[in-house]
Symmetry: C2
Subunit: 346 residues, 2 copies
Amino acid sequence: MLEDKTPQRTPLEELGEFGLIKHLTHSFDLSHESSKLGIGDDAAIIGSRDPIVITTDMLVEGVHFDLSYMPLKHLGYKAVIVNLSDIYAMNAQPKQITVSLAVSNRFPLEALEELYEGIGQACKVYNIDLVGGDTVSSQKGLIISITAIGQVKEDQIVYRKGAKVNDLLVVSGDLGGAYIGLQVLRREQEVFKANPDHQPDLEPYSYIVERQLKPEARKDVVSLLKELSVHPTSMIDISDGLSSEILHLCEEGNVGCELYEEKIPIDPTVIRACEEFDLDPTLVVLSGGEDYELLFTIDQKEYPNIKGNPHLTVVGHITAKNEGANLITRNNTKIPITAQGWNAFS
Amino acid sequence: MLEDKTPQRTPLEELGEFGLIKHLTHSFDLSHESSKLGIGDDAAIIGSRDPIVITTDMLVEGVHFDLSYMPLKHLGYKAVIVNLSDIYAMNAQPKQITVSLAVSNRFPLEALEELYEGIGQACKVYNIDLVGGDTVSSQKGLIISITAIGQVKEDQIVYRKGAKVNDLLVVSGDLGGAYIGLQVLRREQEVFKANPDHQPDLEPYSYIVERQLKPEARKDVVSLLKELSVHPTSMIDISDGLSSEILHLCEEGNVGCELYEEKIPIDPTVIRACEEFDLDPTLVVLSGGEDYELLFTIDQKEYPNIKGNPHLTVVGHITAKNEGANLITRNNTKIPITAQGWNAFS
């Protein structure tokens, strides 16, 4: 018999983003005492006396952003924000970033100046020092890789793991805006392609368009929690859809949860835009992404501390693992939450 | 008169890699006490009690590597090495890395497994923990962005600045191999394209091909210097050509230098291959790159400590700034050293 000499070729989309990372890195062990936490949370932790947290994100033109509707200045700002958000999700304070760019010859200096103006603005607003980076040529398009470094006292770190049965599930701000804002931008882009004289009126959508183009990281929420003497038992930032983030907290905490559809905070602009696009707002929140709000759990005893706070909404509670992670719909149906989050390779 | 509304477009290659980084980042200040050193050395320094050093490098397919002669396993190894080399150049010990990949659907899982095998091997050899990263889709090709984090006692840090008049200029190992090895690989590739049945005989070139495909970072030299009680006054790793690195030390130290052509350590394999390609070995060393050796300066008093050491070669000495940075050729001509290093955008 002839041997099949075709090398095995497993398409990346079969594993998905998280599956792929797990598959590739599962055999890597941590050997240094200073490596307190490796892959699997919003950021890694290094050192113990004054630990630093470190996280990194890569943004690729045509995959994560489209320069036909994303101004370079906004892109620079957003590229920093997505990294800071991961640092805040550890209950830490970001202090430094490094910025690496791969950029094709198509970009003139003036384009990079705009990009750095946005990076600089984010550094100013969030009090961040740019300490390093790399700038290289790309064969096609623009790729931005940012690493953020933060500080936190060891006893203040909040992990993805840590949620306990009966804890409350809380989100900051409101959700779904960034995703539906992207749909609006894409629609305007199509109209513009068909008719270049078209003057888009984005005014009615300004809130959701800004959520997409110029998101903020919830530095204020981290400070607020401190002021309110609230100590989350677990925390993650909402960069993918809410369902994906909830499942992370449940998996890491070895627990289940009930999420109440009617409690999910959604801005009226999001609901109106969803109607236009014939999309279910709950689905947009669960499977959209890029809201950069914080999702966390707190002990029920701390409920009085957050009650009525306009920045924080209790959306559910933690249950035993065997009860699963479920959405309780408005008509009181229980539906298992599945990760329909963005699959990087599909 | 009509206003010229054409926006200004300055091509990136006008500035070169270092000029571009300076231009884009000169207005960024450091505001945090923990930001000890920002852009401009081999790595940034954060914190003072137990400072960490941090560096980042981006490798782009078709720009920094060509998968037609670079096996993925070697690429993974090398991508780690280039970052570790920057950490050693601060006289620090690398401890952790993060690895971010942008990868097109063209790559199957098995390709990334190979890449991670190389990353894992480098981590093992150099005792490094992989603590984080990001994996995303690219529109074209493979982009690897690695950040390395190291530790060093504050009083042990060696900067690019610090060289004093009369200091000796020292290099580790030998130079030029990686660049001429690349020429050999490219030649074989051309032959293979013309005749796919061609079986390349790389055996006579194994040393220089390995210098290109599987470079090592000089962890051993950092240890050796400690053993020999040698305290470099300045140091940099040789990732671009020797001339570019020498100019960095001179600029940062506000000094000049004399580099003796006859002293430059070059392996016989490099000289033989240079003859085949009709290239001047000195020029290859000065303007080539990717050798990942260390270039440093020491006080003359420490010369006895390194004298005769097979890993270290004195190649010149530091002079006053107004004497400039010069190459003293074999026939005793003085030629100003110019940075003909690799320009990322040309």
